[in-house]
């Protein structure tokens, strides 16, 4: 991960993921402003739609990638001691993996796939 998410590749990954996330944010705000789900069934059916569920899961992965590059930049700038920085980076990494698996479970359960 440190090799794939450093230097120029991290820089370009951060910008591509940012563009995707910007579009997702606009689409999500549009959905909740224009046709917010009135009932649980509407909400569940929306999330369970294969296209919506897939877009959400792709976006979760993109968010976590974007967050990883971002938190790595912040920790490199503000936490000079190497051992402490690597410890914090590992904790965030574990947290991100946990968040990803949790989100995966939520979407699969809503879709009736798990």
């Amino acid at each position: 991960m440190s090799r794939t998410a450093s230097g120029f590749r991290a820089w370009i990954l951060q910008r591509i993921s940012a563009a995707w996330l910007g579009l997702f944010v606009l689409a999500t705000l549009g959905y909740f402003l224009l046709s917010p789900p009135a009932t649980f069934e509407q909400w569940r059916a929306f999330v369970a739609h294969p296209v919506v569920g897939t877009l959400i899961l792709v976006t979760v992965a993109v968010v976590l990638l974007h967050a990883w590059v971002g938190i790595r930049d912040v920790l490199i700038d503000y936490v000079p001691p190497l051992a402490l920085r690597l410890t914090l980076l590992s904790l965030f990494g574990l947290g991100f993996v946990a968040c990803g698996l949790w989100a995966l479970q939520v979407i699969l359960l809503a879709s009736g796939l798990a």
Partner: protein, 127 residues
């Protein structure tokens, strides 16, 4: 050389000037870290809302409470600030708005538009 001798030997945060683009830049970092730290809360809320009709109603109650609205405003401010500042950075990467005057103006726009958009979105999303 005389000016060089007066350089600060320690960084006094009260004496360092923070121009608007610097404040906006720190805001970009703070808003990003804030979203990272509240990511579990976001997933929890979606999980709750999808757990059943009762969970859906409970999630609505949580968001509609005073604390929920304040949290929503804070997160929407962070989202709008991060988004607008991010668009500004992408533009700077393309050499757009790179001149000092323009860069200062767009930093002000980000600082002012983010809380206004957040207020409007909070009102629109949580009527």
């Amino acid at each position: 050389m005389a000016a060089n001798e007066k350089r600060p030997v320690h960084l006094n945060l009260l004496q360092i000037r923070f121009p608007v683009p610097a404040v906006m830049s720190i805001g970009h970092r703070i808003s990003g870290v804030l979203w990272i730290l509240l990511l579990p809360a976001m997933i929890f809320l979606v999980d709750l809302s999808l757990s059943g009709p009762q969970g859906f109603a409970r999630a609505g109650e949580l968001l509609g409470s005073v604390m929920g609205r304040l949290a929503a405003f804070l997160l929407l401010w962070a989202l709008m600030h991060h988004l607008l500042a991010g668009i500004r950075y992408l533009a700077l990467d393309l050499d757009l708005g790179i001149e000092k005057q323009a860069a200062l103006a767009t930093a002000w726009w980000v600082m002012l538009a983010a809380p206004l958009l957040a207020a409007g979105l909070t009102a629109g999303l949580l009527p």
